[in-house]
């Protein structure tokens, strides 16, 4: 009986670890291989404070969580600049460091002997000295931790995390602060892992560095993958399966150390087989429930916007010795569409990057509403009212059409975790309103009937419309589109072009990069011609197309 209860305690422990790990890798797409280290630091903090210093609940728990969260933030700092394989190696290095410290800081950690005799927890005078007595505490703790992870995952913040996973540049371009998001999710995930460490130390009353190795991280990874990334219930299932299943090996007659290794081999094999047969996991990520609720009322999309001129003066940008843009002046007035044209490699996209803060100019200045945008990050520039799209669309492909738009809506109280946890009613009410606003925007561009579909299922023309909807949702009034109409067939063009015209008529400030001269003539009231990084000409489409020099070199 105790044996079964012990397994349930372990399941509780691993639910905490797997669901917090899932927040990092499944939601935020941050592949950090340091979760065992976070877990270990939490366990050692408890061992030292409760064991060595004899401090009672809740100090070891609180200090353990705080110390580990700080460690999580510290390791997130390099992750702000780098991603992918680099994050893997940095977090692996953290794992090595934590192991080294745990083994070598003998006076504090007991070195290779670890720390023994950690006092057991006591609740209402009952010492929790058996799996049966410990289980309620473990289960309640797991439930609380899971609820914390769940609230986060289901909140607008969780949605933004997934969008960041899908495309980091695009989530900045709709006004999200990815730095804050990464730091927050690292702090929460590592803090939750420390809670598991607290349970571990009090349950086993013994900690030792060899329990918190990279192999343990791979074990947790297997739980997340087998359960399903991006689905927290999947992590519960994964924890259940991977804790319970190898126990069956107990019935095979093996020496215990061989059984341990056989179990690890089983995890590894299961992981590979699962990736082959069902990479999405047992419980695949599902589209959020928000798209299924009854549609609330839809406020109209603003037909009067207060656009203002977006101006760049003397912009220059060099990459090493190559000058991408120089002496570039541009003034984009509101209420009209300005075209930016020029041959490939002329610097058009670089100009967009300079205007929207994705690149800082070496010289010159960008101003909007008379305010300099110098030094502002892309997401801050979106909030001041200037937003851009990307030539390669950068949609959040594994999210629904509605979610793509919802992510982009500005000033969401649910982006702030204080509101998520302590004012959930406010977040919920606002979310209903936001769904209405998002639906209105989708209907405005003509995608109202595709709201619940995945962005990856859209046709090319619909994808382009979704780009417009997402940009519109940011609330920015100066919208810069990088080739929003390229590659569209004539009948699709006829559907998409009126959207731009209506946006300009509403008073917004529009600029598009475009190659198709018919489209330019149709939409743009003025055109800027860029070649080799400098402005060659500027005027109405007619003027430019009749310019003898330009028609010689460009329009044939």
């Amino acid at each position: 009986m105790d044996y079964l209860l012990h397994i349930l305690v372990m399941v509780s422990l691993y639910i905490v670890l797997a669901s917090s790990f899932n927040l990092l890798i499944g939601y935020a797409g941050l592949f950090a291989l340091s979760h065992a280290a976070f877990f270990g630091v939490g366990a050692y903090a408890t061992a030292i404070l409760a064991g060595t210093y004899g401090l009672g609940f809740p100090i070891p728990l609180i200090v353990g969580v705080l110390v580990t969260a700080v460690l999580g933030v510290v390791i997130a700092l390099p992750a702000l600049r780098i991603g992918g394989d680099y994050l893997v190696i940095v977090t692996l290095a953290l794992q090595v460091i934590v192991t080294t410290v745990l083994i070598n800081w003998t006076s504090l950690t007991g070195g290779t002997d670890g720390i023994r005799g950690i006092p057991r927890l006591e609740v209402f005078g009952v010492v929790l000295d058996s799996p049966g007595k410990f289980l309620p505490v473990a289960a309640v703790t797991a439930a609380i931790c899971f609820a914390i992870a769940w609230r986060l995952g289901a909140s607008p913040f969780g949605r933004a995390l997934k969008a960041m996973r899908e495309n980091e540049a695009a989530v900045q371009a709709v006004g999200k602060n990815v730095v804050a998001m990464k730091l927050t999710v690292f702090a929460i995930a590592s803090g939750l892992a420390a809670v598991a460490g607290w349970l571990y130390a009090h349950y086993f009353t013994f900690v030792s560095a060899d329990a918190f190795t990279v192999e343990l991280t791979i074990y947790m990874l297997a739980m997340v993958i087998i359960g399903g990334t991006g689905n927290l219930l999947g992590s519960v299932v994964g924890a259940l399966v991977l804790v319970a299943l190898p126990e069956l090996l107990k019935f095979v007659d093996m020496p215990p150390d061989v059984a341990d290794k056989a179990r690890n081999m089983l995890y590894g094999l299961l992981l590979i087989v699962m990736l082959r047969l069902r990479p999405q996991g047992l419980l695949p990520e599902s589209a959020s429930a928000s798209s299924l609720q009854a549609p609330p009322e839809r406020p109209p999309v603003a037909t009067r916007a207060e656009g203002a001129a977006l101006e760049g003066k003397g912009l220059a940008r060099r990459f090493g010795g190559i000058v991408a843009v120089r002496d570039f002046d541009i003034s984009i007035p509101p209420g009209r569409i300005t075209g930016l044209i020029g041959p490939n490699g002329a610097g058009k996209t670089t100009a967009f990057n300079l205007l929207t803060g994705f690149l800082q100019p070496n010289e010159g200045e960008v101003t909007y509403r008379g305010r300099s945008l110098r030094g502002l990050k892309p997401h801050q520039i979106v909030r001041t009212g200037v937003a851009r799209s990307f030539q390669d669309l950068k949609l959040f492909t594994n999210m629904t059409v509605l979610e793509n738009v919802l992510v982009a809506l500005p000033n969401q109280s649910g982006d702030n975790l204080w509101n998520v946890y302590f004012r959930p009613w406010k977040v919920r009410a606002e979310e209903r309103e936001n769904i209405g606003r998002a639906m209105a925007i989708l209907e405005f561009v003509g995608l109202g009937d595709r709201a619940g579909d995945l962005a990856s299922d859209l046709s090319y023309a619909e994808e382009k419309l979704l780009v417009v909807a997402r940009l519109l949702a940011t609330g920015a009034e100066a919208l810069l589109f990088d080739e929003p109409l390229s590659g569209l067939a004539p009948n699709a063009l006829a559907k998409v072009m009126p959207v731009f015209r209506r946006l300009a008529e509403s008073g917004r400030t529009l600029c598009i990069i475009e190659h198709n001269l018919d489209v330019i003539r149709e939409l743009c009231s003025s055109v800027v011609f860029l070649d080799e990084g400098r402005k060659l000409a500027e005027g109405t489409p007619e003027q430019l197309m009749h310019d003898p020099e330009l028609s010689e070199r460009y329009f044939k």
């Binding site: 394989d85 680099y86 290095a93 090595v96 074990y219 992981l271 590979i272 082959r276």
Partner: protein
């Protein structure tokens, strides 16, 4: 002063070891973009291959070394064909391949423990001899490590620049997409990269067996140091991998003037951190 020279020499010896590890890992990573974590345990199995030949069958050490190389190459190729290739064919994202490699890592590492146990394996007749070069003391094993590094890196350099297949490997390291476009059989090149990369790792594996012995867990630190060296040197640059490995060895060793041995593994992290901070693309990385 003598101490510093000695530490520098030791650093170059360890650096040679890391450089070889980084060369093999970097070749595989640069060519196929697979973050091959199982590289570590396969390196360990190669050492055990040499140990079986030397300790069980009494083979001379050079035969044991050959056995190590064959073991490594075969396992490397198998891991590509059996595990990674199917994911590549399906177009799985790189992260999925990376996770699979972690799965393979844990499978092989524990398999070693099941088959060979967890004690340290040593060969009965390790290379001996000590060389005194002025104030310097260098052991025979250390000479072998440096010699192996020089021979292997020159041989690899010649192969990559002279041989037809070697040039194809180099082309794929540079730009896999372009290599495919100009008609290079990328699957075959990948197999060759795995074979050569794993064979290269088997050389330091056998040498470390002769010198210190082999353990089931020796693979993790090996692949970790190789990965760090490759990132420090610059992903995609084999010259960078070599320099990265040497830098790690020298900094680690000379750092002992100030810090004690048990904190040595922190040094790699510090180097990694500084390089990522100031040269995120590594010492030899392009844009």
């Amino acid at each position: 002063m003598d101490l510093l020279v000695q530490l520098l020499a030791n650093g170059l010896v360890n650096g040679s070891h890391y450089a070889l590890l980084a060369l093999g890992f970097g070749l595989i990573f640069g060519t196929t973009r697979v973050v091959h974590f199982a590289y570590g345990p396969i390196y360990a199995v190669s050492a055990y291959g040499a140990w079986v030949l030397a300790a069980h069958f009494g083979a001379p050490l050079w035969v044991a070394m050959l056995g190590s190389i064959v073991t490594g190459a075969v396992l490397g190729v198998l891991s590509y064909i059996v595990v990674y290739r199917p994911f590549e064919r399906r177009g799985s994202p790189p992260l999925v391949v990376l996770i699979a490699s972690l799965g393979l890592f844990i499978v092989i590492e524990n398999a070693i423990g099941v088959v060979f146990g967890t004690d340290t394996k040593v060969v009965p007749n390790p290379p001996s001899g000590i060389l005194l070069l002025g104030p310097l003391v260098v052991t025979g094993s250390q000479m072998l490590q440096v010699g192996a590094f020089v021979v292997v890196s020159i041989a690899l350099g010649l192969y990559l620049t002279r041989a037809r297949m070697g040039k194809a490997v180099l082309a794929m390291t540079d730009n896999a997409e372009m290599a495919r476009v100009i008609g290079i059989d990328t699957a075959r090149v990948s197999i060759i990269a795995f074979a050569i990369g794993s064979a290269i790792a088997a050389v330091p594996a056998a040498l470390i067996l002769f010198k210190d012995g082999a353990t089931a867990h020796m693979g993790f630190l090996a692949v970790f140091m190789a990965f760090v060296a490759v990132v420090v040197g610059g992903v995609g640059s084999l010259r960078g991998a070599v320099v990265g490995g040497l830098v790690l060895g020298v900094v680690e060793s000379t750092g002992m003037i100030r810090i004690s041995t048990e904190w040595q593994s922190m040094v790699a992290f510090v180097v990694l951190f500084i390089v990522l901070l100031f040269r995120p693309r590594g010492l030899f990385g392009g844009r």
